[in-house]
Symmetry: C2
Subunit: 227 residues, 2 copies
């Protein structure tokens, strides 16, 4: 397998006609504290890679049942590897965020009009993946003007984001866990189909139980326990 | 007249059934350098208030001819005062920016995808007036969710912004001056009509002649000279 990209929490390899994502034990955060919105690797937690992959597989299988397209093919948990269909990202990569409560960067930007923890109605926003510029938010108009995504694709992205986030939220609710927000990534397959890519794990969402924030590993254990 | 608001570059008084804007000689900027995007008063220039009002009246009269609604009634240049119809702002105030070239905060946010000075097709974006949070950009979806502006009003705001900016751009072009970007404010009259409010002067636009940036006073002199 040929390494084609080394990310903060994952490496990507090319293997014949598909890609392989290798999940690392690194998680994003600052000063040893996990933060799904952070741009740097804050700490290494043993088993984080496999746990993240297990939860990702869990959700990608649920999405398959719901008829929502993803890049997922299959996974080898022991190797912390997931095989996926090759997809190209929009521009140099976007993050699509779905929010059910006002926390994080939403609150930092719009705190004049929103209270901390205020319910939000599956609010979707897009940010550019750009560490140097702190992942700036970008509008549908700007995405189209800069040639990253046209309005029709934006509508599709928003619809997929709300559907996928709804599936995740419902699964969490079954374990009495509340989803506050989630960060997704999308790509285009060779035929132009827009699919969910990357992962869905504790590392890209904020989840709470009884008003307590759940660390990614804790969330993964709770979601995958048979109780 | 009763002072009802004291702004960075203007005071607002109530006088019977209308408001009076008193233009000050203060302009926004930092460390003595003018910057239309700055949030603080950077310097005081004698005559800046009257010059800004003169240019504002010039543009508001042009907009009237073009059938574009504004809050303008009339002005007393010597007193640096403009009488306007009372209008309420959206939320605690928005700024609507129209961009013809990629400079300023647009470039700071989207520099990964845009080159400095690159032409932009009358691109419109909205920011919240919130000094504490550095006037964050906000999407149509977020404006509606936070109860500031609905989608229909957003479309109207965008249309008005492009029309008004086009009038300003054309007037500048007659003097061989190029408009790079402009910042507008809007409000609702008692009957709900959305109108342009505040001012249109050198202080809320970036204008260039032969690749040289024009200071507000220089721009105002040039625009109002009979040559």
């Amino acid at each position: 397998m040929k390494l084609i990209y080394s990310g903060k929490t994952k490496d990507v390899y090319e293997n014949d006609d598909h890609y392989v994502l290798k999940f690392k034990d690194d998680v994003t955060g600052e000063n040893g504290v996990f933060d799904p919105g952070a741009n740097s690797v804050g700490l290494t937690m043993e088993g984080a890679g496999k746990a993240g992959l297990r939860l990702t597989v869990f959700f990608f299988e649920k999405l398959k049942e719901a008829g929502i397209p993803t890049h997922y093919i299959d996974a080898d948990i022991e190797q912390a590897e997931m095989s996926v269909r090759p997809a190209s990202v929009f521009g140099e990569g976007l993050e699509v965020i779905c929010r059910y409560r006002a926390v994080g960067s939403f609150l930092r930007r719009y705190g004049k009009y929103a209270k901390e923890g205020q319910p939000l109605d599956a609010f979707v926003e897009v940010t550019l993946k750009d560490d140097e510029r702190q992942d700036p938010p970008i509008s549908a108009d700007a995405l189209e003007m800069l040639g990253i995504l046209d309005h029709e694709e934006y509508s599709r992205l928003k619809e997929l984001t709300q559907n996928i986030s709804g599936v995740v939220r419902d699964e969490l609710a079954k374990k009495d866990i509340e989803l506050y927000d989630i960060k997704l990534e999308f790509g285009r397959l060779d035929d132009g189909t827009i699919v969910l890519i990357d992962e869905i794990s504790g590392g890209n969402m904020r989840a709470y139980q009884n008003d307590d924030y759940m660390e990614p590993l804790e969330l993964e254990q709770m979601m995958l326990s048979s109780k």
